[in-house]
């Protein structure tokens, strides 16, 4: 108890603990390359970092150091390197999507159950043009080379945002809980359409999917390995976090929350309901679209099975688990769920499989944890809805400094223009 208090208030002690933790866990990973645990421990240092009381710049600095240098380097010494970085890359992809869905569900209070559709739109946007697929309906100049990837990152983002708006215009007039079902329907429609759009003109190659998607390249350097994609994803993710942090405590973010809290009062305050919701849809969708482009480029093959309802629900679980409306929360939620999905469940399944083989225990295939996704997701959804609807890291409201607000004269405060907005980002 004493120790906990001490740790809570003493930043020096925190610094020492964190440094020790990072050194020990990265050393563990460096020397014991096969240890998934060590890898996860290094990742977890970001969570510890979040819990410290350092100021914002320091936190960002240390965080970047860990993610850009320490993690890739210490993981790079063994055969498992690519698989680690694959997990880390997927964590990044899902974190960005969860942040996007969090805007829609957590901030604006709109239950979107077809969110994966925007991811699909981003993916297909790049896949169609980065393969010969586009020759089916355009002059024969495709596939585009991987250097177009960067432009398509923007195009995919825009397409997803536009799809968000086009969907939103009719759908956002629909009242509250109906929205859930309409978006669910929309997600299915998009999947069915992509699944069947190989005729009359072959846009998507239907259920066969699109293969051999050009990997991104820049100045002749090609990104093919997960360890390389990791940096692309990290870059986009930083941008996403940055953007959402800016929005969260701005006029726009406040409008979202006002609409979530009380639509009628929000309107009475002059807020244009549909426009505000559309903005949430579009911004959320755009993050998903960007990651869709990355996903297509990374996998080099996509088909409609990657974009099912289960994916939409997965992202919803991430948001609810982490904490609706809470950016640090959904980052944690997305990381936990992705690691659980990609790493823990497969590891446990393999381990049980081995035990099975050795005849230690006999566990039927039906019990295989890798198949239990739906049950686990379902349990998390129900349990968190009932017992902890605010999630692991509940959303925080900004804390305004009364002294700064008391001052009447703006000029005197020109220096302090970094108001609550900043102090909140620090929090």
């Amino acid at each position: 108890m004493k120790l906990k208090e001490l740790l809570n208030n003493n930043t020096k002690l925190q610094a020492v603990t964190l440094t020790l933790y990072i050194i020990v866990s990265s050393a563990a990973l460096y020397f014991s390359q096969k240890s998934v645990t060590a890898f996860l421990l290094v990742l977890a240092s970001i969570l510890l970092l979040y819990l410290t009381k350092f100021n914002n710049k320091v936190k960002w600095g240390i965080g970047l150091l860990v993610l850009v240098v320490i993690l890739p380097f210490t993981a790079s010494q063994g055969v498992a390197y690519e698989s680690y970085m694959e997990v880390a890359t997927f964590v990044g992809i899902y974190v960005a999507m969860a942040i996007g869905l969090n805007i829609v569900v957590g901030m604006a209070g709109l239950l979107d159950l077809g969110f994966v559709a925007f991811f699909a739109i981003g993916s297909y946007t790049y896949a169609i043009f980065a393969t010969a697929q586009a020759n089916n309906f355009l002059p024969d100049i495709f596939p585009l080379s991987g250097s177009w990837f960067w432009l398509f990152l923007i195009i995919g983002t825009l397409f997803a945002a536009i799809a968000g708006i086009l969907l939103g215009i009719p759908v956002l007039r629909v009242k509250g809980d109906y929205l859930a079902i309409v978006t669910l329907g929309f997600g299915e429609i998009i999947r069915i359409v992509f699944n069947n759009l190989d005729k009359p003109i072959n846009f998507t190659n239907g259920a066969m999917g699109i293969a051999s998607i050009a990997p991104p390249s820049i100045f002749g350097f090609e990104f093919v390995q997960s360890s390389q994609f990791y940096f692309i994803v990290l870059g986009i993710l930083l941008f996403v976090i940055f953007a959402v942090k800016r929005l969260e405590f701005s006029k726009i973010g406040r409008s979202w929350k006002a609409v979530r809290e009380n639509e009628i009062a929000a309107q009475a305050m002059g807020i244009h309901l549909v426009r505000t919701k559309l903005m949430a849809f579009a911004v959320g969708a755009s993050f998903s679209g960007a990651m869709g482009v990355v996903f297509a480029a990374k996998q080099t093959f996509i088909d409609p099975t990657s974009f099912t309802l289960l994916e939409s629900i997965t992202i919803l679980v991430m948001v609810l688990l982490g904490g609706m409306g809470s950016v640090p929360g959904v980052i944690l939620g997305a990381a936990v769920m992705t690691i659980l999905n990609l790493q823990v469940l497969t590891e446990v399944t393999n381990w049980l499989g081995q035990l099975n083989m050795q005849g230690v225990i006999s566990i039927p295939d039906a019990l295989s944890p890798a198949k239990m996704q739906r049950m686990i997701f379902g349990l998390i959804l129900v349990l968190f809805a009932i017992y902890r609807p605010q999630g692991l890291i509940p959303a925080k409201n900004p804390v305004f400094d009364e002294e700064k607000l008391k001052a009447d004269d703006l000029n005197q405060n020109e220096e302090k223009v970094i108001t609550a907005q900043q102090s909140v980002i620090d929090a």
């Binding site: 953007a243 800016r246 929005l247 701005s250 006029k251 726009i252 406040r254 409008s255 929350k257 006002a258 809290e261 009380n262 009628i264 009062a265 929000a266 309107q267 009475a268 305050m269 002059g270 807020i271 244009h272 309901l273 903005m279 409201n397 900004p398 804390v399 305004f400 009364e402 700064k404 607000l405 008391k406 001052a407 009447d408 703006l410 405060n413 302090k416 223009v417 970094i418 108001t419 609550a420 907005q421």
Partner: protein
């Protein structure tokens, strides 16, 4: 001069005529009270003025502009603000943020500027925060600025609704039972606040209220609704002695006494 002209306003819910051909002219700078028994149609009347319900007949003009059938956010931009009978605050954000939302129509806060963190965004935010703080002080809630709105007491929530409405910089303020649930001391404070707002902020105020002491003490003009119809209108002294009004409130038998 009339800042609000309502004529022949009508609203039906299925077979029920909640408001039936009501006229009302509100003078600039006046305090008008709308009274009547429960279910008389008072709130429905407000809801039509503020665009929450679309009228089935009649017209509404504010500041010379026809706003019949306008959307709520358009009505607000035209200078009409309101509070709600069943308090509608943004419960899970802070008190100061509630007021900030009220200021949104006067903030630019565009997407590009916000994402790029441009200086004018910071500047207008700071200004808005200071203004919001001033408004909180005006209604006496400044010490609670960082509290979540749901955590406030009933009376404080009603005052926060007023502060939030003021933040839209209205010319006309509609208050729906502002004293409901307040204790006598709070009611007196509220009465002073309403008078002060009218004097200092150049407001025209229309209020619905069941507390007759408050109504009689504060308003220059009173309109009485019953079963959706306007049954009387005039100065407080006229209304006090109007037999129709007494009937409406107490039933026919009471008039004889």
């Amino acid at each position: 001069m009339n800042v609000l002209e309502v004529s022949n306003l009508t609203k039906k819910f299925g077979g029920l005529v909640a408001v039936n051909g009501v006229d009302l002219n509100v003078k600039k700078g006046s305090i008008t009270a709308v009274i009547g028994p429960n279910g008389a149609g008072k709130t429905t009347f407000f809801n039509m003025i503020t665009g929450v319900y679309t009228p089935d007949g009649g017209s509404i003009k504010s500041n010379g502009k026809d706003i019949t059938g306008s959307k709520p956010h358009e009505v607000t931009k035209n200078g009409i603000a309101r509070t709600f009978q069943n308090i509608r605050l943004f419960g899970n954000i802070t008190v100061l943020e509630n007021v900030l939302v009220g200021m949104h129509t006067h903030l630019k806060g565009d997407l590009v500027g916000t994402l790029l963190g441009l200086p004018y965004i910071h500047k207008e935010e700071l200004k808005a925060e200071q203004e919001a703080y001033r408004l909180l002080k005006y209604v006496g809630l400044e010490t609670l600025l960082n509290e979540d709105a749901t955590n406030l007491s009933y009376g404080a929530q009603r005052r926060l609704e007023i502060a939030r409405a003021l933040a839209t910089k209205p010319t006309i303020l509609l208050l729906d039972e502002p004293a409901a649930g307040m204790n006598p001391r709070e009611t007196v404070e509220l009465t002073d606040l309403i008078k002060k707002m009218r004097e200092e902020l150049n407001l025209t105020i229309v209020l619905i209220e069941h507390d007759m002491k408050l109504v009689m003490g504060i308003s220059e003009h009173i309109v009485v609704l019953d079963h959706g119809e306007k049954i009387a209108e005039g100065k407080p002294s006229d209304i006090r002695s109007n037999t129709k009004v007494i009937e409406a409130y107490l039933g026919k038998s009471a008039v004889g006494h």
